[in-house]
Every structure is written in structure tokens, then in C-alpha cells.
Symmetry: C3
Subunit: 209 residues, 3 copies
């Protein structure tokens, strides 16, 4: 059919979203390892996180390039743009946080950092469930459940950060406070970005209802 | 008329904007109380600010849900989205700042904090005037005046923060500097967000001129 | 022709982009001077940076006002909006950084600051090349080359900031760390914004290909 010439076969954006979310999950897992491993971060772990961040960047560029070439999209172009950016932001933010851990010579095995890394992994796994569920017309229930869970974990993270900051300011030197305050804030930001993803996913579902 | 079936009666976005701005005004007033009350923040004041933040969130969600369902909007969808988000950001930022005051055990009665809280209240009241004035076709003059005032107060806040930082770095310990620097920055950010609202309001008026 | 009455002569957005980029280049150059001049920042240098920031603001407002009045634009309205905002952000961020230098009484002649100021100037000059090249249909090669250079310099800045932070935390007092950490971060943010410009420019070129 002639139209096929002008309108290329619909591009499968879901494949790329799933790839992006996969990099986020791998980053969150690697971060959990790093937080739990005593001593300075190993160069190989740092490289692994950086490599995932680059792969995430490539996937994001592919989505945006396709978006600029594709006439028919599975949902609003703007939502595709927001979703791909925010999925990328998860991997980016984990990479940023691990960069700080390296530069500040933060030692693994810290109880608080491990606690945060577990909540981050849970949240990113819920993001994976939400994003993968969007593909299935009758998966709306599971997607919304995952979004509720992501919101819950963001609140958990908020409270954790506040409790940790309170302790930090009462027990550490100014230099330690500067370092850890930034790490806790970065960790909480990962959870905020997961919540941003949940918000976009929910808004996409509402429009298609 | 059949069309009514497809196009529901135009939703009154202005009602919700006014509700959002009301939460912002109440938050700013409560913050002024907190800043002026000597000693640690009272739990009831903290709860009041948090409650306003939740109410603001609900109003924002309602606006966005309606936006996704409404075909005819009083002005550009994008501007409605920006306006609702930024009005919510005012209440959010005041809540964030008060959260820091609690965690850092900042004592009320501080001269600088009180000064900032008065400028914030003035700016949020000007935002209320601008937003409420948008409803009236012949209220453009008053709306623009309020926008000019919001811009003026943002500059006042900038200068205040710089003067306070200068004093801070010359008279306090590193740990005190870390705490207060963040509080002053948050306070200034409230004024920045008010300015963002003024910019959206002005751009809406320009398009309707 | 009647249509001319409704559709005013196409507004030359490129002129204004070039003006904006010019303010950014002048700001970057002035910042290089400031970084290299020993002692406290001179009031005249500070005023010059602030003046450029105001001129940049005016140019941005003109672009947005025109955008709201113009029916036919050389490329997507959203891209025009992003481009004008980000060009303004470069000048804004340099102004913010210089404001911190003044308030924190940072002395010129610092080796690291000078190093950063040179990379910033290079990056802003590449932004100028990219933006000015967009006007010419057969200048795509040079524009893309400039974008690659901007990306390279952002990576250079990242590595510089990390190396400087590492040194900072090992050799300075907490108060010095607080000051310099913010300055380095601001400097790196200028390079991030240049990269944002490169991304918008590339996406505009892709759509027109």
C-alpha cells in the first residue's frame, strides 16, 4: 500500500522503554551491591554503573530520534518524551550518586546507605512492572498498583532521609555532613524520579481510558 | 444538544486555581507564624503545613484529571498545566522549607527568617491577586500590577539572601552555615516560583489580548 | 495581499538568538577576566555581568512575545521556546556564579577557577558557532561539529569538577569546601546548559532533514 511508503511501520516504543527500564533496574541492583560492599568502591563497579548510564543515553537518543520520524505514536508524543527522559533520569541519578560516593571516598557497608539502596531497588522494580504492564490492554490494574507502590516508597524515602539527616547533624563533623547530606539527597531524588515516571504512566492510562 | 454528550459542560478551572492559591496563602501565613514563634517548631504547626501540602496535591491532581477530560479550555492547555503545577510548587516549597526547619531544629524568632517570611507572604498575596483577577475580563490592569509586584519582591528576596549569606559566612560555624544556607535558599526559591506564576499569567494575558 | 494583514512578515528569530548568544559569549569572556584577576571581584566587573544578564532577559522576553504573536515560525514553536530559554540560562548561570564569587569573597587568580573559565568560554563559543550556523542551509556540517565539541567539553568539565572536589575535600576547611563546592558545581552547570542547547539544535536539524 502506498501509504506505507510515507508512514513507516509503527515503531515499537515499548521495546525501548523496556530496555531503558532494564538499565535502571541493573543500575539499582549494582548500587545495592556497592552500598553493601565494605571499603572504597571498586573501580569495576564504578565502570559498570557508568557503562549502564551510557547505554541508557543511547536508548533515550533512539527514542527521541524515532519520535521525530514517526507520525503515529501509541500515545501522546509529549508523554513519550517525558517517559523516555524520566526513565533515563533514574539511571543518570544513580550514576551521579555513585560518582559522589567515589569522589567523597564513602565507604560501603553503611547501614543507612544500604537501607536506601533497598528502597531504591524496590521502587525501580515497581517502575519496571508499571512500564512493562502498559503494553497489555488488560494489565491496567497491575500498572496502577505498581504506581501506588512507587508513591508509597517515595514517602518512605522522604521520612528516611529526614531521620538520617537529624542523626547526621547531631553526630558528625561538618565535612562528613556535607558529604552525606548530598548522598542522602541524591538517593531521595532517585525515588522522586520514580514517582515522576508513575505520574506520567498514570496520566497516559487516564487519557486512554 | 447531542454535542453536549461528547463535550461536557466547560469545567471551571478558575475555581480550582483559586483553591490552590488559597492553600499557598494559608501556607505562607502559617510559615510567618512559625518564623515568629520562639523555640522549636510546634508539632501542630508542622502538621498544618503538611496538611495544606496534601490538599494542594489533591487540587493539582483534579486540575490535571479535568484537563485530560476537557476539550474546551479557557486558555492553552499547556498554560493551564504550567499554572496548576507552579501554584502547587509554592505550597510544596513552603512545606519543604518548614520540613528543613524541623529537621535542623531551627529556632523561631530569628530576625532574618521573619523578614523572609513577610516578603513571601506579600508575594503569595500578589499571586492570589493575579490569579483571581484573571477571571475578570476588565481586571487586566490589576493582574499586571500584581505581576510587577511579584517580580519586584523576587529581586528584594535575591538581595536579602545575598546580604544574609554574607553575614552568615562571617559569623557562624560550618554546621550552622550548612543549615541556614539551605533555609535561605529555600525561601528565595519560594519567591522564584511566585515569579514563574507571574510569567505564566502574563503570557496567558498576552495571548488573549 | 490581504493575508499580510493577518500574518505579519515572518519575524527573524535568528537575529534574536544571535543576540542572546552574544550576551552569553560576553558573559563567558568577562567571567574569564574575573577568574584571572587577583583579589576580590571589582564592582565594575560585577555590574557588567549583571547588565549582560538583564540584556539577556530582555532578548528572551522579546522572543517569547514574538512567538505568541507569530503564526509561521522557522521551526517548531516548542523548540524556539526551549532554545531561547536555554540560551538565556547560560547568561543567567554565569551571573549566578559570579554572584556567589562576590558574596563568598572568592579571590581571583585561583588556578582551578581559571581552568574552568577557559572551558566555559570554549563551550560558549561552540554554542555561538552552532546557533549562528543554523541560519545557513548548507552549514549543517559545521553546526553538528560544534555540537560534538560542546558535548566533549561537558565531559571535560565533569572530570574537572570531580578532580577538584577530591582535592578540595582533602585540603580545605569545611567553610572553604561549602563555598568552592558550590562554585565548581555552578561552573559545571554552565557546561550542562551548553549541552542542552546542543541537544535542541541537533533535534531541530533532525526534524528539518
Amino acid at each position: 500500500m502506498l501509504l506505507n511508503f510515507f508512514f513507516p511501520k509503527e515503531f515499537d516504543f515499548f521495546n525501548l522503554f523496556e530496555q531503558q527500564v532494564d538499565y535502571a533496574v541493573q543500575s539499582a541492583r549494582k548500587f545495592k551491591d556497592i552500598a553493601a560492599t565494605p571499603g572504597l568502591i571498586e573501580e569495576s563497579s564504578y565502570q559498570a554503573i557508568t557503562h549502564l548510564e551510557h547505554q541508557g543515553d543511547d536508548a533515550t537518543h533512539t527514542v527521541i530520534a524515532q519520535l521525530n520520524k514517526t507520525f503515529i505514536t501509541p500515545f501522546d508524543r509529549e508523554d513519550i518524551y517525558d517517559l523516555t527522559k524520566q526513565l533515563d533520569d533514574i539511571t543518570d541519578m544513580i550514576n551521579t550518586m555513585v560518582g559522589r560516593i567515589k569522589v567523597y571516598k564513602i565507604l560501603g557497608g553503611d547501614k543507612h546507605l544500604m537501607e536506601f539502596s533497598r528502597v531504591i531497588e524496590e521502587s525501580v522494580l515497581a517502575v519496571a512492572k508499571a512500564v512493562k504492564g502498559m503494553r497489555h490492554k488488560n494489565g491496567t490494574g497491575a500498572v496502577l498498583e505498581a504506581c501506588v507502590e512507587i508513591n508509597r516508597l517515595e514517602n518512605v524515602g522522604d521520612a528516611m532521609r529526614d531521620a538520617m539527616l537529624l542523626e547526621l547533624f547531631e553526630s558528625k563533623t561538618a565535612i562528613e555532613i556535607i558529604k552525606w547530606k548530598e548522598i542522602y539527597q541524591d538517593a531521595e531524588t532517585v525515588l522522586d524520579i520514580c514517582e515522576d515516571v508513575a505520574n506520567v504512566v498514570e496520566s497516559i492510562l487516564v487519557k486512554q481510558a
